[in-house]
Subunit: 385 residues, 2 copies
């Protein structure tokens, strides 16, 4: 176990968006230095937070090796880099990457991900690898139309997913998702759920810690709000937490991980998606827990002992503030959000607002979940960003 923090330690982020940004803030708290590698042409938030900034493609092994050599540890804020690329970068640079390329390899492909978790005894949403209209028909018969087609690589916030109601739509979606180019496409049944739940787990060689089970309130696959703890039975919360820890162990995870579950009408908890990184569902933990998901991300990848995940107040609600305009970024009408006693506004420092883009969030703590949720919505309803 690492019991020292060296000021000269440099933590490198592959990706420079809001998740890396909030992790970097925690690295700074420990006096750790931060370097960043971005694949975007425009300046991203973390690039305003370090003198050590690289630009390049996530396929450019040489450039990433050069970057990794300048760092002591590398971590990621997304799952878009191929595990074989990560493995090469780790090997050629000699700099460890956490979560490890081996962990990534077990979840980067949705098919392998499902199999990994099923093999670990974790119930997942019904799915099947599909190739043609016979497969579509069979799946529709078994689980009913409509169902989802998902590319096995690169889904994020609903991208890479298509809802299909019939054979024609299925064939079209299969092609749009790259099935005709040999990409693995899986069919996934629509689950009749009452709640979408999420749990974060941090784990490294010192042990693991699990966050409260929260509810993600979604509309069109976009998360509008997160309620912690989730307004479901404690036994359900505990079940989701147990499955999340099991899932983290199944991929031998070192870092912070998020798991999204469906709570079905029958009371089953089914694992839906996993993310080997800080997750939108855990933003409430910055003020809502003693140690946030970002703090434990940094601690986990540095090999430091992990922080308590205990909630600081009985209820925490996080509201995502999505771009309402396409314009140079500016958060307007934020007075209510800034002046409410237990409210905490976070603005991500993206230069450009786009409609629907995640630009900021607001967390409100309170004693009662429902009233805190209503109040948080009210306090943020006039914000334009």
């Amino acid at each position: 176990m690492t019991t020292s923090i060296k000021a000269s330690t440099k933590l490198g982020f592959l990706g420079a968006g809001q998740l890396a940004r909030m992790s970097a803030l925690q690295a700074f708290r420990f006096g750790i230095q931060v370097a960043v590698y971005s694949d975007r042409p425009e300046n991203e938030p973390v690039q305003f937070m370090t003198p050590y900034s690289y630009n390049g493609s996530f396929d450019d092994v040489d450039k990433m090796v050069e970057f990794a050599k300048s760092c002591d540890v590398i971590t990621l804020e997304n799952e878009f880099i191929n595990s074989s690329v990560l493995r090469k970068v780790q090997k050629e640079s000699g700099t460890p990457i956490y979560p490890s390329p081996d962990s990534f390899a077990l979840i980067e492909n949705k098919l392998i991900e499902k199999q990994t978790f099923e093999n670990a005894g974790i119930p997942v949403t019904p799915y099947k690898l599909v190739k043609d209209s016979v497969d579509f028909t069979d799946f529709g018969k078994k689980y009913g139309w409509p169902f989802l087609l998902k590319s096995s690589k690169g889904g994020y916030d609903g991208y890479g997913n298509k809802t299909v109601h019939n054979l024609t739509e299925a064939a079209k979606a299969f092609e749009a998702l790259g099935g005709h180019e040999g990409h693995d496409i899986i069919a996934e049944a629509f689950v009749d759920f009452t709640h979408e739940l999420a749990v974060q787990v941090a784990r490294n060689e010192t042990g693991s810690v699990v966050y409260s089970c929260c509810e993600t309130v979604q509309e069109n696959h976009i998360c509008l709000a997160v309620l912690a703890p989730a307004p479901v039975d404690e036994a359900i919360q505990k079940k989701a937490q147990e499955l999340a820890v099991q899932a983290t162990e199944a991929i031998n995870g070192k870092g912070i991980f998020a798991f999204e579950f469906f709570l079905t009408k029958n009371g089953e908890v089914l694992l839906n998606e996993s993310a080997p990184r800080p997750h939108n569902s855990g933003h409430y933990s910055i003020e809502g827990c003693i140690g946030s998901q970002f703090e434990n991300h940094v601690r986990a990848v540095l090999g430091l002992p992990l922080a308590s995940t205990k909630m600081t107040e009985p209820a925490a609600v996080m509201i995502n503030l999505l771009g309402t305009h396409s314009r140079p970024a500016e958060a307007d009408h934020v007075t209510d959000a800034l002046t409410t006693k237990d409210g905490h506004l976070h603005v991500y420092g993206k230069v450009q607002s786009k409609i629907g883009r995640k630009m900021a969030h607001f967390t409100l703590l309170g004693d009662d979940l429902e009233s805190t949720h209503q109040k948080a919505k009210l306090l943020t309803k006039d914000i334009e960003i």
Copy 2:
């Protein structure tokens, strides 16, 4: 009142040490960009946190003007820059500086500072401008030996102060402090105090907020620990808070300010020192209050409404972790500090440890001040840094 936060806003810090660093972390939380001007040859903490870094002297108006022009607002983390220099930089760059040069002018000289606060009806420690041995003798007769001689400019953590027991020591100290070169030297009586107290106030055009009155536990003018709220009568706490707000108004302060008081054996509260910046006595507020002194520093200078200063737990104790070695910075034996549930370790990212240098701090929250203080000392006693 500003109700918008623009992502492109750049906040410039004159000074790049731990106080600017913790303020910068709050600026980043709002998506604000940070630039820094340092007068130190070695890299300072904030210089690892921004691509916008300048080096130069605090006397070099042209260089500071160039820096200020690249920023939207300038703030400071120390009181070492002459107000006339700040006024020139503000005028020539067109970039506002907060706290304003006018506020600085009222407190940069200890003599003027004392007069400013006395004129506002705030009781200060007994003092007198002294020129020669007749003055020393008179002061000693009136208030007793030993007393303090202070240079009217540039005191910090006990530097610029000398305790004198007799005429010979007084003459020697007078010269060492620059009295023979025309620097104003004031004599200050030793106050027979039971507690050293401190209060932070944030103020801008939207209003003002005041933090709890805390106790600073000092040894040889070095602050070892801060206890919040101070273990003194509530009436005394309230008195100190009122005086701190009055003092902030007396200098028309915009920003965050800290005031240090003596609580005398007779129960008087005497203003001892003021600082127009975040202050070591307010570090506990990062976790101990809903809005920290650093958050309110940033809010105040940007013209944003101020955050609640309410404490999050009944007791907060901050332990300063001073350099125990002269070596490349490394915090050893930090496991206890990292794993205690309500403990929060902050490492400043200074590259080099020096014995006695402020390198890090540890805050512990709890229900009871005395036991929290004992526990915090125990958890940090083995840390080497």
